[in-house]
Symmetry: C2
Amino acid sequence: MAETTHFMDIALEEAQAAGARGEVPIGAVLVYEGRVLARSGNRTRELNDVTAHAEIAVMRMACEELGQERLPGADLYVTLEPCTMCAAAISFARIRRLYYGANDPKGGGVESGVRFYNQPTCHHAPEVYSGFAEVESAEILRAFFQNKRD
Amino acid sequence: MAETTHFMDIALEEAQAAGARGEVPIGAVLVYEGRVLARSGNRTRELNDVTAHAEIAVMRMACEELGQERLPGADLYVTLEPCTMCAAAISFARIRRLYYGANDPKGGGVESGVRFYNQPTCHHAPEVYSGFAEVESAEILRAFFQNKRD
């Protein structure tokens, strides 16, 4: 549990840093064999790439570092429930465990929306643990959008 | 219709070329203002990136070329029904029209599986046209997997 809190704290730092760059403040951490292999916030604006969500960013970084296409045995921490695109990418990458903060009823694809890991077209589902730092995760997003409106 | 056939022929060429490189033979073309802005087959093995499906490859190339994050007004042609991940990425990129060949009941996310464009968590749906060159598209895949088994 202390370890989970530690990695989620890093994801929260990445979320804050993303918001400071004008990106939607969501952060992720990819942990493999007990160490942080990649950490990132959203980078869609920076890279002009709508697929550069924090989850996909850390998976691509980790695959590049390891020189492999999939990440069996790796765990992914992210501040918000992954969207449908990321839920499927996490499945394709064979991520072992997914930890996330706040739920996202409007755009999520794990416990919300299409609930991808419960579908017959999903061929690998990670173990899912949610509700970590959900208040902080949601507050970072709320403040960001409030600030944009003001 | 002649134009649609022309662009789907290019997608089929990309599918064949992907198969020759040992990638799952699926090809895509991104058309913007009547011209081909990007064409690619699957590149997941080449790039060690499970998100480098043909659809996402052409969207990334087109966004880089145009220097923008989304592709409103662009049309995407792909030989197989997009998977759940790609269906969502196509939505995020604000693709105008999606043309595809064969259906993919096991892994598709448009007319199969999660039918993403019909879900409340989908906030932009392209116009969808399917069944173009579906026999050729499916045959390229069938031959590829038959060859792998032999």
